[in-house]
Amino acid sequence: MLQSAGMKQSLVYEQTSCRLQVEGLPDVSAGHGATSIGIITGWTLHWAGRPDLEGRREHLVALMQVVFPYARHLISDVSRGFGGSDQPVSINPGPDGLHQLSLRSSQSGVEPLRLSLDDAELADLVQVLDRLRLDQRLRLELDLPAVRPLRPRELNLRVPVRRRLAAPLGGLAALLLAAGVGSLLPLPKPQPGAAGSGPGGTGALSAPSGRPGSAPGATPAGSSDGSTNGNSADRSSSSNSDPDAALIERLHSQLHRRADRNSLRRVGFDQTWMLAVNSSGTVVAASPHNAGTASSAAALGLPAQPVGAKPPAGTTLVRADLRSGNGYWELAPWSGWSRRSPQP
């Protein structure tokens, strides 16, 4: 509906619950026609059963700037408020599906006007504002936000917070529960008889060997390779049982004394010995693997008697590696000569 008094024009838009009347003048300088409105002088929004709203152009634009995006988001079922407390108009979702429209006066000392609109009244408001916006007789630049599709993050707002957090919190709880149950499970015990040679002049039996008196399960083979390490291809183990721990300690204590430097200088290189050790830890016989002289045995404090094909009764065969650089012994159960190593 257009009403004009002289040059003053009035546009009226009606819906069931509201009636919007916009008054203005054509902007002659911009070449507007007599029936156009280029300058808004005032507007009034009549509500059924509510106080009328009126204001200037900027208030009308502020109203459109919050109502249109709010309606757009509602179509996508996203309830989100628009307009802050510092703006003349704001709209927010209210309880029971209502919509809270807040209008703040530019005059000081005036309390904000709060209106609760239902869906029908909101739709009426959107209709009248739409018809005003699209009226070709309104020759105004309305700075309205562009209508665009929502991004996934914005769409998440329509999912309740509880449902959004349910999956990540549930996963975190399951992780904590599994970690708690796992921490209650007993840890496997480490295997005894771990090998290692440490400082201090003593070696340690790196692997279980036969008990005292057990026959060396060695089946020496013919060929020789002079390997001091004794890494034989088909070494047969002398025994599968663990050595007597006390025997080991006693042997360590006997070999603990380091060979003097002159002796080591005379020896000059790493040696491997097969030792026959009695239950008290005393070395009864000793046969060198790669050093052949009895003087080496004396220099190292070992008995001159070789082990022989048959070890003395009641003794345990032990492999002893001497590091001439530092005088340390590394002890291991005797597991036989390699095929290529010469028989003692």
Binding site: L2, R72, D118, D119, A120, V126
Partner: protein, 208 residues
């Protein structure tokens, strides 16, 4: 002097991006009324919502199907949907349909359906508003919703795949009440010329 001229009705104002557009004098040919401002195809959810909203309008208006065809001709979309069968085929791209067509709507078809939807919503705006109104007596309002829910359920059972949980939830009297209200509210807010823009943007939302 006061001139009392009735403001042009909503249907007289050309819908944005569509409607019978006069021939361009420079080109000598009529501009395509279905020139889509946004050529992106609708997502699966967008197709579902578009068809469901058209179905809601058919539930409100017993002659909704005929009105749709008539509007299609009036708005100049005969080149897009030459017949009611073509219009039905376009709507059958909804994955929830019992007989669903593969593929997607092209941009012209999408824009045409959106404009038809907005025009029909504008035409049935009083009915939409009466459903949403909280000022009427609760019994009257409940009766309106019950009638609408009954008609909508009949259409859903007739046309949609009843094995889909989304269809079941929409038919359910209690579980689907909020969803039905959201559809009606979307139609009321999307009615008319300006509503077509909002409907288009909403249907092009990112697939959730």
């Amino acid at each position: 002097m006061v001139q009392d001229l009735s403001s042009p009705a909503a249907t007289d104002i050309p819908l944005s991006g569509s409607g019978p557009i006069p021939a361009d004098p420079t080109s000598g040919a009529a501009a395509d009324p279905a020139a889509a401002p946004d050529a992106r195809p609708l997502s699966r959810r967008g197709l579902e919502r578009l068809d469901l909203m058209l179905l809601c309008l058919e539930a409100l208006d017993l002659n909704g199907g005929e009105a749709m065809v008539w509007l299609c001709e009036q708005m100049g979309y005969s080149s897009v949907f030459p017949s009611r069968v073509a219009l039905w085929q376009g709507r059958c791209h909804n994955p929830l349909r019992r007989t669903c067509r593969r593929g997607n709507l092209d941009s012209r078809q999408t824009e045409a359906l959106i404009q038809i939807l907005a025009a029909m919503a504008d035409r049935l705006y009083p009915l939409l508003r009466s459903l949403l109104s909280g000022s009427d007596p609760p019994e009257v309002n409940a009766e309106r919703w019950q009638l609408f829910q009954g008609r909508l359920s009949e259409l859903l059972r007739e046309r949609m795949n009843m094995r889909r949980s989304g269809v079941h939830s929409l038919i359910d009297p209690l579980q689907g009440a909020q969803q039905r209200r959201a559809l009606v509210r979307s139609l009321a807010l999307g009615a008319g010329s300006g509503g077509a823009e909002r409907l288009r943007a909403s249907l092009l939302d990112a697939a959730a």
